[in-house]
Amino acid sequence: MTTTETLNAGATAPLSLSEQERMVEAVLFASADPLSLRDIASRLPEGSDVAEALESLRARYESRGVQLTRVGDRWAFRTAADLAFLMKESTVEQRGLSRAATETLAIIAYHQPVTRTEIEEIRGVAVSRGTLDHLIELDWVRVGRRRQTPGRPVTFVVTENFLDHFGLESARDLPGLAELRAAGLLESRPPGDAGIPLQPDLDDDLIDEPSTEDLFEDE
């Protein structure tokens, strides 16, 4: 493949190959896009052998941190493949769960297996799809068995990974309400009536099917 736009022949003195190489190097470096032989030749003085300069330049950069690479029929400098990791800056950011996610997770942990409707009744607000997805993505929650009630809703249960992360042997190890209170987490005075179960247990209204049998089914 030979080059050189024949705009006007032989006006300039022939350039040394190394000088041509420098020129190709500069042109490619400064270009925003990969350049074809023709593009480069149109910038260089007449009589330049761009193909040869490119070959020599490619060899020069062979084992360097950047390499002269061919992209289709165009040429560009690119970071050496083995150094690609330098172009990535990975940071680990510690981020807390949103309140919605924490509450949903707590409900699932304490009441599992629990349907979405039940979660919503306990929280008093709708559970967004994103919240559950997020917990599932974190592998802290997974879909359990379907509830044998009309509509056969899916239930949610916590995972092994959840137990791992929270340092629990089983979901039964979750402290009960009495312990929460003892720990000062329930700061308000104890509710007067029997409305609050100490151990995961659901209101009659919430569960048509008594849930005790399948509590912690997965252990």
Partner: protein
Amino acid sequence: MTKVPYLMPVPDKEAMGETPPPPVAESSGVAERQAEEVLVVDVSGFEGPLDLLLTLSRTQKVDLMQVSVLQLADQYLAFVEQARALRIELAADYLVMAAWLAFLKSRLLLPPDPETEGPSAEDMAAHLAFQLERLQAMRESAARLMARDRLGHQRFPRGAPETVTRTRNVAWQSSLIDLMRAYARLRTKDEFRPYAFDRKNVFTMEQALDRVRGMIGYSGDWTALVAFLPDGWDNDPERVRSATAATFAATLELAKQGRIELRQTETFAPITIRRRTE
């Protein structure tokens, strides 16, 4: 009107100090008018009195170190005169400079007065020459700076910079205590709901009224009040209490309306009711 060369157009170019003022055209009516018009432009073209002085000093064709300040003062004052004659409005700082130069000129011409405080006329002249030289030096420096190999003109950065991809790995954190707190929050939240009476075991007076009204038509005879209690409200003491109270209140209301009669034979005896007959 006398023509002075430095009233001619002054090139306002970056190549400062390189182009001498063009030669004066021989005066004719037209040329004079043109010169006058040009003068207006020129005055605004000067970057202040110091710039004007610098331009004037070039007509002396000497190194700035050797410039005759006296001569320069004359040139400047002539310029100002000329401008006045042409009714050109000069900015205040040009006039301040003119006043100062007039003062300097008089000091330079008079023998030094030993009584005078402050710097000598020679020092003042030297300082003016210094200021001109310094301004000239800065102009040359500016020109040299702009003539350097500038980025984007002669030197170029990488045209296709590779962006550093920042991958941000989020480690979601939550602790058992967070979980417990959240659950505790949920479980105690009921206590803070707006107060509403728990009506599970309450039989309201409205319900009782409806019931008694409905039933009274069929019983023309004295009937015990407890017979009016609804089904399912006669076992649980709490419910019995509520239903009895409501039913009693309902009968009182109906009695007041004159629709029924109540009777109790003695204290704590069962209350009986019957429909009132007109």
